[in-house]
Symmetry: D2
Subunit: 393 residues, 4 copies
């Protein structure tokens, strides 16, 4: 699938195993009716698939048994494979937001926090959520984290947190939470056990996507008391930790949805070769064949952007600009690909007969999740200006 | 909304009344939870809204009390208004496929057929379906009607119909059906009472759209016996009748969904003016303001294409090429508009907090329903070639 | 070509006469080698074509012999016809900037100014230029007229003008100039005889377009003395006069270049029907036929936007927003059309074998001339905000 | 500029030297007025620049002094650098069609042919041309080589060639020709000395591009006699040799024009940072900043596609599909980039004040040269069908 030069044989073997597992074991579950009100698989269904993944040796496959993490280029080949079904990341425990949460805890967690919170996540026994974004209409941090309004204040051996959060993916049903709040020292992050009565889910809207258990909740944090030793790292360092998580988590979205679009394109290609219209197979109509050719090109470009950005992250760079570039390029390419797959399949493309219709909806949301395209272009334009000034001076 | 030159005051007054009704009475129903499994309003909900429409004098507003039909340019202003809510056409009885079915019966039905089938439809008491498209994977007519495989054969004073149909919008729950089938003489059309045990609904897939009660059924017609006097017009003329219905019905889709996108744009515009990010209202960010400016232009172009094509139909032309041009231009413009509305609203845009998310899904389907964009371009290319040859000779 | 409802028979007859003249008499001149260094026709060539236009009764066809001006919708059908060749507007005296200058003088000029300056222009004996835009890199008014730096001050019975202007189309070779400058009272406009030694052409760059005699000059106005009675209207009213000229002149660009793209599309269509590749006529390849179908749609939309905006201007409105919408929509549509024509014709499309290559270049420039697309979107976004506030209050 | 992993230090050093040379020595020549009628540099100007390149050690930099050729990934970094000015490839002898001709001769030429024809080319002393494409309107091979009509027949110790060729870049002024013709055995290739009276240049059209000395000639080969030992390789193998040249030559176009667009983007970025409009630097307008951000992404994607395709070629693959993918992706990306650069610079962007205007024109032609986008999509669609069938069987 990729040129893969410089990717370890071990990682390629893991990716191959994950792909085989998804194709053979996960795809049949796509017709399983167990879905929550939001259209996402129930936790029961998730845990059943994870049993199979565990047995197949592909649960949390990007984190090795010694606790070490594949590098980002290696992670890419594995997560792309897991994404070949929208259920694949759930089955393999490579899904958002858990993948990013595990990454962050692995990098910044103390041994105690890792043992207590990371271990069950890596074992695929619990789901987690990341409490950062806030309702923009209440003055909080939408795509603009500097506007964060959730507060935390020390109270004896605890911290007390108050605020409102929105679009908290997977909060419903999560057992582990990472909560971001502002103290006098600056932003802080806390590990918390869930559910907690001080965290009240106000609303889980129906959304255009339906792959993420628990949906995207809006909730109120009302005097949540967290023991001081559950703070991640140091007070005031919360934004730095968010940065650590930011680019890899953003890029892992690109990986998984690329996998989904590879599969959607397989389905559309198969359809175009089997079905006839106006006297010949659809694929022989240039109007259709050209769309598939464009998919081929867009898929390759998405793969290359992910590999490039992953390579930058593997040098130790935060990769903020690079992951913005990759996120915009990949999400927009995937939208074009998914849209063409729907169109190639005509009426069938807008039904749930195949996953193509779902992939289209998921990818539409992805152009907004983790920063809308426009916010990334805005920050890239700032960088262009900074670079120009630096070169001038 | 339009220049409206040459549109009668009567029609403008009807449109204004419809708009007021939709804004005041229908929009509150958008939050009503009564939905069928496919996400469409239940018939109970539809009939409740129609009571209000009847009382407000806006039920089937494009067909006057003397049975006469507004011309197409007039119909446009009325149907655009009814489309301001996805529920509006259902409430006002201007929805597909009923609007097209009423149009066809009004044009080609005998007095007896009109009295028996058209009257209850105009009164908004029953829903209807149009049985034309067939499963392409079984060799039937997808977007290519010449491949029709459903047959009808005379049997005494009846016709007996056999075949398979797919994407039959509203078949589930319809009381009136117009069924197309092939006889020795050529294509025929029949009016039938529904439900009928000889028409077996095999499957109603979930689809990306959710505005049409009954969804889009796949079904089997198994020895359906229809009295000979329920044939519409003459045997062998079925394709001609399909042509009569074709362009106006296609254009009425454009009208209704333009209304929906006008509304989506109002919602996005309001959002962009109220919400702030990075220190100023969203609308003051060019990245957002430009999208709204592009919507303004696309909305105007969609309106002009509809008005132009309607004017062509009003001359008595079948308008086949013109309605293909309008369908492509309008559906693609509406997709861009709906997509920008979602994007402007960020996370909120992909939730069901507003109708923007639904409009996006509906418009995605519209690019395929009534002929995918590519089929229309294909037939336009044929016409370009014919015209070139005619000019040469 | 258009629905043309409400356009007078007189105007349609003029348009038909202009079209016949351009097709028969002007098109053969497209191969005439008399071009200035910038690629534009020499004045000798222009005047020779105008002799033919005069004889054919199609010189300045949009201004009637009694001095009255066709309304804007009528003007559209005439100017579109004149644009069928890039030489047509020059031959018929419907070209920029003269057409706009004549319009402005006809609206705002005193009888004396009309007799002295307008008459020879309408007679097609002289060319004119409009001195407004200034070098942005010197702090002057690029697309932002409020930054104007050219000054005028009274000195006895004269005004003395100083400043720098850039992109002054046709200044080289013009006999009449309309110069804009700032006085204490505000902006002023002056009619001046050209050439004048106080107006020094510094530079006429080569540009991507090549249809406009004299090119687009950068020049210095150095103590230009203008008799006070050559001021147009009142001191301080210069921006109002610029507004009078603005929308109609902008729209007339759309008209002429639509004509050019109609012709380019005729050429590409003919090519696609005559040439074969991979075993069949180009037009039978969907990849080509679809491009021609898209052209058909884009041409229609451009025509409709022009007609709509012209109708708004005919109500007496300044049509600022409407002409921005039309300019963006039409210029971007024409770019797509011209680009497809080039592509359909392959290697031939990038040579000067036909006018398609030139039309592509002209239309590229048109997306910038008279305000780049982005400036229009910017002002439309401002209007959207204003309208939202007005509706709220 | 690139990740460059796996590219030799030697190649990176060469690329750096080439970049320094182009920036310091070649760019000042961009204002040199010595141009032929078609706008391309005269051979005098070319040879003068080559003297400098020879002195700087950057003449034919991708072919080492021992005659070995950099691999394709290495070639990419060098040719991108040479492309930073449209004059750079001419100065460094990395231009089309010479670069491809040298590559082919280096791969397939006998020692005698190399000594006689390749040596002076590598030394930068002569230009060459590749005689393949034929006039499609005469039934010859446009983008469809199977239609070749030029013939060669043995006559004693010679071959006699007859036919017509078109778009033969650089034929005017070339000293070496590679001529393709059909014999009974199949296609053949010949090395010929130029000029030769039997090759009559009929026409060199003006074209939208202007970087290639000699332009793109249409010519007649009239009983050209070529000694038998000037046949390249074997009779009947001509198409195979064309294949050897095809992908690398196609990709080298991508490399050079990527260089040109990198430079155009530097110019536009500088402009956007220096100029002000509506109260702030252009770059601070999102409408402008977003275009530059999109350029950043498109430039990166173009670079990655080139590097990927080059890597495929370096494995020894013909890379036919991969180079089609790269050619479409890169040429379309460069068009968007060049178009945005023009637009960012407003009026200045359409003048010859900078090279941006030229780069825009060159890139427009590039979307057609070496196979229009549509022909590549067509052949990719064929491949998709073949691959599907192979997977099925």
């Amino acid at each position: 699938m990729t040129a893969n030069s410089g990717i370890s044989d071990q990682a390629l073997a893991i990716a191959a195993k994950v792909e085989a597992f998804v194709r053979k074991t996960v795809i049949p579950y796509e017709k399983d009716p167990r879905r929550d009100h939001h259209g996402a698989p129930t936790d029961e269904l998730v845990m059943e698939m994870r049993e199979h993944a565990r047995a197949a040796g592909v649960l949390t496959p990007h984190i090795l048994s010694d606790g070490s993490h594949l590098n980002q280029r290696e992670t890419a080949v594995v997560l792309i494979s897991s994404g070949l079904s929208p259920l694949g990341p759930l089955a393999c425990n490579t899904m958002a937001p858990d993948e990013g949460n595990m990454y962050l805890l692995g990098k910044e967690g103390s041994p105690e926090l890792k043992d207590r919170f990371l271990k069950p996540m890596v074992e695929g026994r619990v789901r987690s959520a990341f409490f950062m974004t806030e309702p923009a209409d209440e003055g909080g941090a939408g795509s603009d984290p500097s506007m964060m309004q959730t507060t935390c204040r020390p109270d004896g051996n605890h911290w007390v947190i108050n605020g409102r959060k929105t679009f908290i993916t997977g909060a419903q049903g999560a057992r582990v939470g990472i909560v971001m709040a502002k103290a006098e020292e600056g932003a802080c992050m806390f590990l918390v056990d869930l559910p907690d009565p001080a965290i009240r889910i106000d609303h889980v809207p129906n959304t255009i996507d339906s792959s993420m258990p628990g949906g995207h909740a809006t909730l109120t944090i009302d005097n949540l008391r967290v023991p001081a030793d559950q703070m991640l790292g140091q007070a005031g360092e919360g934004f730095r930790y968010a940065q650590v998580r930011l680019s890899p988590a953003r890029l892992s979205h690109c990986m998984r949805w690329l996998g989904a679009c590879i599969r959607a394109n397989e389905i559309a290609t198969d359809y175009a070769n089997r079905r006839h219209a106006f006297g010949k197979p659809l694929v022989d109509h240039e109007g259709v064949g050209f769309m598939l050719a464009e998919n081929l090109i867009d898929l390759k470009q998405a793969e290359l952007m992910i590999d490039w950005c992953a390579g930058v992250l593997d040098t130790g760079s935060l990769g903020t600009a690079e992951s913005s570039m990759a996120k915009v390029a990949v999400s927009e390419a995937l939208m074009r690909i998914a849209d063409r797959c729907v169109q190639v399949m005509g009426g069938t493309g807008v039904t749930d007969t195949t996953i193509v219709e779902q992939v289209f909806r998921e990818v539409r949301a992805f152009r907004i999740y983790d920063g809308p395209t426009e916010v990334h272009k805005w920050s890239l334009a700032k960088k262009i200006k900074r670079d120009w000034k630096a070169a001038r001076d």
